[in-house]
């Protein structure tokens, strides 16, 4: 079965590339999995040094690309999946599309719902004797968990629970690198470390569930125990986080998901938040606190604007460090980093500078707005909202985005000249409505003696091509035009701007 699966998968991959069918990223894997559902554990021994998995709601593609580029600079043979092809079929397809027999490292971005399946596949391969011998290391990066496409992913808590259940099966060969500023992920980290330590975990769990006073001391005990045994060099759980208070938001954003203690349910206390529910938090009731980070923002320089890119940089740096890459090499690689398509990507179009920011959920959109408003590059903005399958068919989330910040947009392009905003996409009217209700507006009476809401700031243009033309015409000499778009809208606008398709 394995042979048939490989043969078929490979030929489909080849044909798909030959005729440029554009389905090469997932279909070969899908077919191969149909013939042999356990094909992945059989393919994993081809990776000789390490497998790096990046999971989280936002930042997967950028972090994966950073890790991949820096490993490539060290002349390692890298296998990676294509951006967006981050389900099981995409990962199997990556093996089938690549002609090489062995690789040093594999770097995969993995969909939130697929992470447990991937981990179970690894565990399966760990029982594989060959793999045990060659001691491939596994690294799993947990970036963040936010609300995203509820119609597809379900609730944040469900995903976190599935992650925890899967991660509790890992052994000493696996390192989990966790964003300490996300309380839910820190909770997962604590639970795994409790599980890996010799503490009678079931007893702990029982205590947790009864909501009695928390084993914070037990946690300390566990970590001492673990460090003692593992001689500090073999820490299986490591954290990264921001430690610079200048990134604190003046007030909490509306789109937060974990502001109640994942351990006891009490409201968490935040000394400050960087965005959404990422920040310096602690639970005053059960004593669950922010874990100490191995690496913090003061030790790295992010090559891209935006606080979220600081997290991506931290995650990439930490995983590369634990992989054994020299600090200087990491720094050098980061300096030369160019972003992935649609993620702070700069495009020159008709002599104008345009920058695209993929913004696909409330947290992502909030951070994009923050980046635009605080950037030294001024210029008009275009907001594109689609509701196709890759975007999520439910556009309710735009009401969780704090568009109200636009009212305090102090980066006027010129005196008395407000930033122009153009709205387009499949759900242009929904986005227009959201803006209508977000910006403080002057009202006038029209002939029908109705109160009319007057707003010069934004324009609704349904046709994307016309919207792009209008938008580009607004960009003046020396300015940058900012495009914030959901996934399929980003691909559409990119096609117009570059004249070619990406996927």
């Amino acid at each position: 079965m394995y042979l048939i699966a490989m043969l078929l998968g490979k030929s489909i991959s080849f044909i798909s590339r030959l005729f440029n069918l554009g389905a090469g990223a997932t279909w070969p894997g899908e077919i191969a999995l149909w013939f042999d559902p356990r094909i992945l554990p059989k393919l994993l021994p081809r990776i000789k040094k390490g497998v790096i998995i990046v999971a989280g709601t936002n930042g997967k593609t950028t972090t994966t690309l950073m890790v991949k580029k820096i490993l490539e600079d060290q002349e390692y043979g890298i296998l990676h999946n294509e951006s967006g092809a981050n389900l099981l079929n995409g990962i199997v397809s990556a093996f089938l599309a690549d002609g090489r027999k062995t690789y040093d490292y594999a770097v995969f971005e993995v969909d939130e719902n697929t992470l447990p399946a991937i981990i179970f596949n690894f565990q399966f391969s760990i029982f594989n004797k060959n793999l045990k011998k060659n001691k491939t290391k596994y690294s799993i990066v947990l970036l963040n968990l936010f609300r995203d496409q509820l119609d597809r992913y379900g609730e944040v808590d469900t995903i976190a629970n599935n992650w925890l259940n899967a991660l509790e099966t890992i052994d000493n060969n696996t390192t989990v690198l966790i964003n300490a500023d996300d309380p839910h992920l820190a909770f997962i980290g604590r639970e795994i470390s409790l599980h890996m330590s010799s503490l009678p975990r079931n007893k702990m769990r029982g205590r947790l569930q009864q909501g009695s006073k928390i084993p914070a001391s037990a946690f300390a005990e566990a970590s001492v125990d673990r460090q003692g045994r593992n001689d500090n060099k073999n820490q299986n759980i490591q954290y990264f986080g921001i430690d610079d208070k200048k990134y604190y938001l003046p007030k909490m954003q509306h789109a937060t998901d974990t502001i109640f203690c994942p351990s006891c349910g009490n409201r968490l206390t935040f000394e400050g938040v960087y965005f959404s529910h990422l920040g310096d938090w602690m639970c005053t009731k059960c004593g669950f606190t922010h874990p100490a980070s191995t690496i913090t923002s003061s030790q790295v320089t992010s090559p891209l604007e935006g606080v979220y890119n600081m997290y991506n940089t931290l995650a990439a740096t930490l995983v590369l460090k634990t992989t054994g890459i020299d600090k200087k090499q990491i720094q050098k690689g980061l300096q030369n980093f160019t972003p992935a398509f649609g993620r702070m990507e700069d495009i020159s179009y008709k002599g104008k500078d345009v920058r695209i920011l993929l913004s696909k959920n409330p947290t992502g959109f909030n951070e994009s707005l923050r980046t635009v408003l605080s950037s030294k590059h001024k210029g008009p903005m275009m907001l594109l909202l689609n509701d196709r399958i890759p975007d999520g068919t439910d556009v309710s989330w735009i009401w969780d985005v704090d568009f109200e910040v636009l009212a305090h947009d102090e980066h006027k392009i010129k005196e008395q000249d407000e930033r122009k905003i153009i709205v387009s996409g499949d759900r242009v009217l929904d986005m227009g409505l959201r803006l209508k209700y977000s910006i403080d507006i002057s009202k006038i009476k029209d002939q029908r003696s109705k109160i009319q809401i007057k707003n010069q700031k934004y324009r609704i243009i349904e046709n994307l091509r016309k919207a792009v033309d209008e938008f580009v015409a607004q960009i003046k000499e020396g300015e940058t035009g900012w495009i914030l778009a959901t996934y399929s809208a980003m691909l559409d606008v990119r096609k117009i701007l570059t004249g070619k398709k990406i996927l």
Binding site: V156, H254, F260, S396, W397, K450, I451, I460
Partner: protein
């Protein structure tokens, strides 16, 4: 017609409304805030001052009684578990008294399940509701799919919001549970496209006194300005004990967005 009256009184009288939001930090799943923003702005544009008050653990019953409008959004299971005790023991009885006396409210997404007699969750446990709405909710079992997608329904003509020109409501539903109405409530609307309460009897949502429950989740009011204004009128009427006319707003964009959903289902 109230609209032909002079609005002098509205502009000179300083009307105020206090909008209460049930556990905003726990019950705010996916754009639920849109409803609050729409109510607030539509009041403010007409010169009605609005304060938004959270109804949460620290809210006393006396404070709760000063609220003129109650809004409830959706909650994840864990969040629901955190608040259910406080809601049942402390807030529930006062809310029932207020709603029985005419305080209007809007309950979207999962919150209607809390207002019925009981709901049976995915684990098969029976959880007591507040018993304000005569209805019950249950999960149909794992084999039944979730109800996800755009929802279009026509308003119940027995209900004073009904208007021949604009008698539809549009929303987006995403729920696993199914709700069955008793005799003590009226259906809010009749399903044209989507599932509504249970996918069987074509009912969508429920109306009890001046309160509306709907399975539309998230921002229901932005694309249904007629419902928003009906709720504002009711809140003013109950507070000031007389009908207060609302100045008409230019809702062109709101209705365009509403109709764009109707067009998707070729209902026009």
């Amino acid at each position: 017609m109230v609209h032909s009256r002079n609005y002098y009184e509205l502009r000179t009288m300083n009307y105020t409304l206090k909008i209460g939001w049930l556990y905003p930090e726990l019950m705010s799943t996916y754009g639920d805030r849109g409803n609050i923003i729409v109510l607030q702005k539509r009041c403010e544009w007409r010169g009605i001052d609005v304060t938004i008050a959270p109804i949460d653990f620290s809210t006393s019953n006396n404070e709760l009684r000063t609220i003129n409008f109650i809004f409830g959004g959706g909650a994840q299971d864990r969040q629901q578990g955190i608040l259910i005790d406080d809601l049942q023991k402390n807030k529930g009885p006062v809310m029932k008294e207020m709603i029985d006396n005419g305080t209007p409210g809007l309950f979207v997404c999962g919150s209607p399940q809390l207002l019925g007699h009981y709901f049976i969750n995915g684990a098969g446990e029976k959880l007591e509701g507040l018993g304000i709405f005569d209805m019950v909710s249950k999960y149909p079992g794992k084999d039944e799919p979730r109800c996800i997608g755009n929802l279009v329904a026509s308003l119940n003509f027995q209900f004073s919001i009904f208007n021949f020109r604009k008698n539809t409501v549009v929303g987006f539903e995403n729920h696993g549970g199914r709700t069955y109405l008793g005799k003590g409530v009226k259906p809010f609307a009749r399903v044209i496209a989507g599932n509504g309460n249970n996918g069987e009897d074509q009912t969508e949502g429920a109306v009890y006194k001046n309160c509306i429950a709907t399975y539309s989740h998230g921002p229901f009011l932005p694309k249904n300005p007629h419902v928003a204004d009906w709720l504002i009128r009711k809140a003013l009427e109950v507070k000031y004990k007389k009908a207060i006319p609302l100045e008409p707003l230019d809702d062109t964009l709101e209705w365009q967005a509403h109709e764009s959903i109707l067009k998707r289902f070729k209902i026009y």
